[in-house]
Symmetry: C2
Subunit: 410 residues, 2 copies
């Protein structure tokens, strides 16, 4: 009596059961103020522009938009992205670009290409949960290096590199989850160390365009290119999910052409190609500088929301709680005092009507520190609701600290 | 001096270099008549309907269409698909359905869940190239069973099952590449054998709706359900690529809810979710029986094209060449006489201005038979061009048989 249900009962494939997607379900409950997801503010989505571009695309070349197209991606979009990368100090051509089904797929394709079971990957602590999910399926092990307000703690990187990781996975700008940014000085040193130890870098830049203060920093890929025009030591990935709309699922990888050729073969087996319709639509929307203008809008909206959250935290959180001050992106990162437990806090917080993601989800291994941390998203909820949500969360924290405090006395 | 380009130079990951996507590039050359791809006829794409549904979707709930959404898929689409499966003898609910980024992704997710390196999969000979690509990445090995005009040769299946394959991957209806269909009697026997030997079935039904003659046959999943209402021994996958438009990349998997739950976790790591926009669009397009009406149109167009190709083959091909008579789908399958080589023929054919896919691409291992076979697609090219293409191909075959004949005399 075989049955699929029994067939893989003993198979776990290192798949974590508590995942970013499960957590996103929290936001569905009525009345809950969610700081849990990484969702853009839907009220600023450029629906009118998308509508106009859908019509133009369908009227001018509707058949092509509905047909199969090459795995590499829609050639005008690849060229447009290559020109944009070139303006940011990464002189590449279309052959260096692979369009992916969101940048999550970029992580999956790179994992397929690069990771054999037991390979160690150097990751930040904390790091992006979705990357851990993508890498875990292929049996990755990890070497972790903590971050501070200036990103990866460089004084600890050299030891980690000596242990021989296969590659580094780094989110240098407005990191998910901590919201921190690798300083200019550390970027240059990291690129030098990568070359010195022969450990290449996968640079995840999902949030770099969402800067609310200060000046843009060069990407790790740009610094690598400046040193070595053949830009061989960094693979870069990014997405339109935060700067246009996540529901379209369009991301991209920048890499040497021979790496792209390998990734194209892998992508053929993974999903043949990313939606022709969506690639052409994103290209249409991006024309005439629309995305630059739109970025001004979302930066303004998100800056206000970040400030609303920072102000509310300052005003309401107990003094023994700390948090990061992100210069951009979607998240800030809260550290509770020793003895706290952010999963227990989450239960109290859901009771109060507010949600977040517990910090331990973002660590490659067990982390005592992570168990008293949490990620707060400030892009999805409007400033008034942010203030109300932080009020609820403060109430939950006060309850939790009382219980944790009394617990430690027992 | 590390560099990504050197980094994986010795890694092949079982990736075939000649792939379906590379071959699709053949159709880009001006003047070439392509029987190579598996492309729908773009001139019958329902562009007006898609346009109307885009507008309605964006006007009524544009923000939701652009936002993240659950990994499992758009709930109304899952329910619509479950109702359709139920009408076809597979009584399931939304919890049995996972929306995928085309059915190619279904193969990738199933491979991730099920295949450990060295696991043997029972596949037809020939079988779908894209499945071999998806499975090879995870180190699959194969047990092959040849097909004839009635599909998988059942008298050979029992021996193959005794060798202990992990699962069977079967395309029972209008198989890609051979165009053959598993008979009713063989379907029932195969489902019984699967249960007897404890080897579950992955049923790929990409083409079942494209029937040009005869009556619909029950799916393997329907037969399994009829025997065992818990329908535990078949996983079914299909796609909107052939019945609506491939450029939207929407497919689905039907499986027991606990299998779906595992696949959802895997899909989170693979691409988070399939495009919200495209799922909602497909759902809108499908309402009011539109896809049933549209299926009548495409069946009529493709039937004419199949008949045009069969007539041209009958008229022009040398008598020592054989081919299948598909009752539906997109492909027919040609077998050249012993001593022929379809890759050599392809070079001659491209010189004549016509393209096809050589048969050996569709075999899991080396195949002497496959090297003198080829797949011809009849859906993409209109009947006049089909006739001209077969004329060119006949000329190439005549040249090839002369050379092959003289070669065998040397």
């Amino acid at each position: 009596m075989p049955a699929w249900s029994d067939f893989f009962a003993d198979r776990t494939r290192n798949i974590t059961s508590s995942s970013i997607r499960e957590l996103l379900k929290l936001i569905q409950k009525p009345g809950i103020i969610s700081f849990a997801g990484g969702l853009p503010a839907p009220e600023v989505f450029p629906v009118a522009r998308v509508r106009e571009c859908c019509l133009r695309m369908l009227d001018e070349d509707g058949r092509a938009a509905l047909q199969y197209s090459p795995t590499e991606g829609y050639q005008p979009l690849r060229e447009w992205l290559a020109a944009g990368m070139t303006r940011q100090g990464v002189p590449v051509r279309a052959a260096n670009i692979l369009i992916t089904s969101g940048s999550q797929q970029a992580l999956d394709l790179l994992a397929k290409l690069l990771i054999d079971p037991g390979d160690r990957i150097l990751v930040e602590a904390p790091t992006y949960l979705g990357a851990l999910q993508a890498f875990n399926v292929f049996g990755a092990a990890y070497v972790t290096v903590p971050v501070d307000e200036d990103g990866l703690r460089l004084e600890l990187v050299e030891d980690a590199l000596r242990s021989g990781p296969k590659f580094m996975y780094i989110l240098p700008t407005f990191q998910n989850p901590a919201g921190v940014t690798l300083s200019r000085e550390r970027r240059e040193k990291l690129v030098r160390l990568a070359e010195k130890y022969g450990v290449p870098i996968v640079e995840d830049d999902a949030y770099g365009k969402l800067r609310y203060e200060g000046e843009d920093l060069p990407s790790l890929m740009a610094l690598d290119c400046a040193k070595r025009p053949e830009h061989g030591n960094v693979i870069y990935l990014s997405t339109f999910s935060k700067t246009l709309a996540p529901g379209l699922r369009i991301g991209w990888i920048v890499a040497p052409p021979d790496v792209i050729a390998k990734l194209v073969q892998i992508k053929q087996g993974a999903d043949l190609q990313t939606s022709t319709f969506n690639q052409r639509l994103v290209y249409e929307v991006a024309q005439d500088g629309f995305l630059d203008a739109y970025a001004l809008t979302i930066r303004e909206v998100y800056r206000q929301r970040r400030d609303a959250m920072l102000n509310a935290l300052q005003e309401m959180f107990p003094p023994e709680v700390g948090w990061t001050h992100p210069g951009g992106g979607l998240f800030l990162w809260v550290t509770l005092p020793p003895g706290s437990d952010s999963r227990q806090l989450l239960e109290l917080a859901l009771g109060e009507g507010v949600a977040f993601v517990p910090g331990d989800c973002f660590y490659a291994g067990d982390s005592d520190l992570g168990r008293r941390q949490m990620r707060l998203n400030f892009s999805y909820v409007d400033p008034d609701r942010i203030r109300e949500g932080i009020r609820r969360l403060s109430a939950a924290i006060h309850q939790h600290l009382q219980v944790a405090g009394s617990g430690s006395r027992v």
